[in-house]
């Protein structure tokens, strides 16, 4: 399952870091962050609940880049 989330982040490298962080989160099969359109597309592994996984993704992203936001 794929879902798109709006994000807010100020620099392009931070967006790349968020992408890495999201990819490493358990339950996430793949993730892409598009800095230009400020969107994060997350593909979840089967049987994962997007809501709980996204909480983790958000936490991990905050860790690598404090000044970011994912609108869940």
């Amino acid at each position: 399952m794929k879902k798109t989330y709006k994000i807010d982040v100020d620099c392009a490298n931070c967006a790349n870091k968020m992408e890495d962080a999201a990819k490493k989160t358990t339950g996430v099969k793949d993730a892409t962050v598009n800095f230009m359109t400020l969107k994060m597309i997350v593909e979840f592994e089967d049987g994962q609940d997007p809501k709980t996984v996204m909480q983790e993704v958000r936490k991990n992203c905050k860790k690598v880049e404090d000044d970011c936001e994912i609108f869940l």
């Binding site: 392009a12 892409t32 359109t37 400020l38 000044d67």
Partner: protein
């Protein structure tokens, strides 16, 4: 400017003013330090806070951390002015970047401003504006002059010119009347339209296009992946370099050369390194270039599904075409009346009347060419001779219309046609009256399109068609296409494309251009599938990597040129940014570049790279 940006601008102005004033005061010692800390904290407090959080989260190569170390280091070395200046310029750079990116984001979304805000629905005789999402299939909507068509549908009532330029880049308006299909995103220019919707908003053309464009830069190109990998290595590498620069030379001087270690000087050089280690100029300029390139292309009616496709398109050397519908109109039209013993129009009239009972495409094109309503009562005794043609009585004269076989069968002396196409011979009362040539018409810009492709660096053009060899060869010769493969079944086309893919060099990419109707397997097999004339056709939008909204073949060369320009900018930015950074690192290590130069280089590179990237948006005159 957003609120955040305005606040930053004020901080920058305050800090800059203090920076200019402070050196005029006769300050010494702790007082100087204390006063310089004022602008430093004004401009850099958020960086320091973020750096602190970064350390807590073990993000050592975070750029906030790097900036904090570099500036605090400078302050410890008592270069107060430098410490403040580096922080100041860093923030100026960040502000510029966020402003430029925000601006181009808005520019590009303005370009794609095709989203309709409302639909007019008649409720109890009154017009009401409703959200297009809420309109069900089969609802009658009303579109007034000047409004966008919000949802795909069929015109029930009204006649108008539609401006399709937002979708196709084509500035000539399109005429539409009752019974015609209209697609969402067009602007109704002249008349009031009543439209019965045939799709939901989410399935309408405009939604599909917006979705496609919005997701496009998520498919990342090799250059983008390269740069994010590079950034991941670059920053740590420069940081370790800085550490080595701070420690090794002084130790060598002290232990082996017996010189004074000059710690301060080497640490200063190391701090210069840290200033240059921020990868943001690199990382921002590449996706921004692609984003601008894709935005510019969509303005021209060329939809690109991802940066990776733009990249592949720029390396296209082989272009393979489908014939019917791509290079030709795909509709059969009367292209000539030859050896007629009477007026051409009269001959057409007889032929059209004789064939009036048939629904064959040939008879349709005869009727179209004649162009006037047919009076069927003038026709009687219609007899179809399968595989030959028809004979009928028209105005009590015996008209025979058909191929050469029919003429031989009737014993009529006929003239061969040396043009390519389907020939309808006519005999009236047993005497030969001439023939009508019906052929698929080549698109007006097709020849120019092939010439433009050659000019844009395409080395081979190949046409694949299921049509007869004679027809295919003639079309190819007329257009100047290098190779033709004719009489192919759909499966043969795939096989042929695979053969071509195997035979080309690894750096040469193959693009297939089709009208998307039955080309889906070939479109997906080619390196790049280009569907044209795709307005309103979901299947084509689905199967292709690049979609040309109208069916003008000139757009193929245009798309290639847009991609080349975009990629040129991408490479310029990569080489320029990496080049300047490495150059500054070298100067910094030698002690020639001070921190001022380093931060200027860093911010300057970013400004130039961002401005260069925005150039990709301008594609009108390519």
């Amino acid at each position: 400017m957003s609120k955040k940006q305005k606040k930053m601008l004020i901080r920058i102005l305050v800090a800059a003013a203090l920076m200019i004033l402070l050196p005029f005061l006769p300050l010494k010692g702790y007082l100087e330090f204390a006063l310089f800390m004022v602008p430093y904290l004004v401009i850099g407090y958020d960086i320091l806070i973020k750096a602190g959080k970064g350390i807590r989260n073990r993000q050592v190569f975070d750029e906030n951390f790097l900036m904090a170390v570099a500036t605090l280091g400078a302050i410890l070395l008592r270069d107060y002015k430098e410490g403040v200046a580096v922080m100041l310029f860093y923030q100026v750079g960040e502000l510029f970047q966020s402003y430029a990116v925000g601006k181009s984001r808005r520019n590009i979304s303005d370009l794609m401003d095709i989203r309709p805000d409302y639909a007019n629905v008649e409720i109890d005789g009154k017009l009401e504006q409703v959200d297009p999402d809420e309109v069900e299939i089969g609802t009658t909507i009303i579109v007034q002059p000047g409004e966008k068509v919000p949802i795909d549908g069929v015109i029930l009532e009204g006649k108008t010119s539609l401006n399709t330029s937002a979708l196709t880049g084509e500035s000539l308006p399109r005429e539409a009347a009752e019974g015609d299909e209209v697609i969402s995103g067009c602007i109704n220019m002249t008349g009031l339209l009543r439209i019965r919707t045939t799709k939901e908003f989410g399935e309408s053309t405009v939604s599909k296009i917006l979705e496609l464009v919005e997701n496009s830069s998520s498919r990342k190109s090799r250059s983008e992946n390269f740069i994010s990998r590079f950034a991941r290595i670059y920053t740590p590498a420069v940081c370790y370099g800085a550490l080595a620069l701070a420690v090794l030379p002084p130790l060598v001087r002290l232990l082996f050369l017996g010189l004074s270690p000059e710690w301060g000087d080497w640490i200063y050089r190391a701090l210069t390194f840290l200033v240059i280690s921020c990868p943001c100029a690199l990382v921002i300029s590449i996706p921004l270039s692609f984003f601008a390139g894709i935005g510019g292309a969509s303005k021209e009616g060329v939809l690109v599904k991802g940066s990776n496709y733009l990249e592949t398109l720029s390396q296209t050397k082989l272009v393979v075409f489908d014939k019917t519908g791509t290079m030709t109109q795909g509709v059969f039209e009367v292209s000539g009346v030859h050896h007629s013993s009477m007026e051409d129009k009269k001959l057409l009239e007889y032929a059209a009347l004789a064939e009036s009972a048939s629904s064959h495409p040939i008879s349709k094109s005869l009727q179209r060419a004649y162009g006037e309503p047919l009076d069927r009562s003038r026709v009687s005794d219609i007899e179809e001779i399968s595989g030959n043609g028809v004979t009928a009585k028209v105005d009590s004269r015996l008209v025979a219309a058909g191929n050469a076989k029919l003429m031989r069968r009737l014993g009529v002396n006929y003239q061969e046609c040396h043009h390519v196409g389907t020939v309808v011979h006519i005999a009236i009362d047993g005497a030969y009256a001439g023939h009508i040539l019906i052929s698929d018409v080549i698109k007006p810009h097709a020849k120019q399109a092939i010439a433009n492709l050659k000019k844009s660096g395409v080395t081979r053009t190949i046409m694949l068609t299921g049509d007869m060899k004679k027809v295919a060869d003639q079309v190819a010769a007329e257009l100047g296409i290098d190779e033709v493969h004719s009489e192919l079944l759909p499966a043969d086309k795939v096989a042929k494309v695979e053969e071509l893919l195997a035979g080309k060099g690894p750096k040469e990419k193959l693009a297939f251009v089709g009208d998307g109707i039955n080309d889906a397997p070939v479109l997906s097999r080619a390196d790049i599938g280009i569907a044209m004339g795709a307005m309103g056709s979901d299947a084509a939008i689905e199967a292709a990597d690049i979609v040309l909204m109208d069916d003008d073949p000139l757009k193929i060369a245009k798309a290639i040129r847009i991609s080349r320009k975009c990629l040129r900018i991408v490479y310029e930015n990569i080489y320029f940014a990496i080049g300047v950074k490495l150059f500054c690192l070298a100067l910094g290590a030698l002690g020639i570049a001070n921190m001022w130069m380093a931060i200027f280089a860093d911010v300057g590179v970013m400004v130039i790279a961002v401005l260069n990237a925005i150039r990709a948006l301008f594609v009108k005159n390519l």
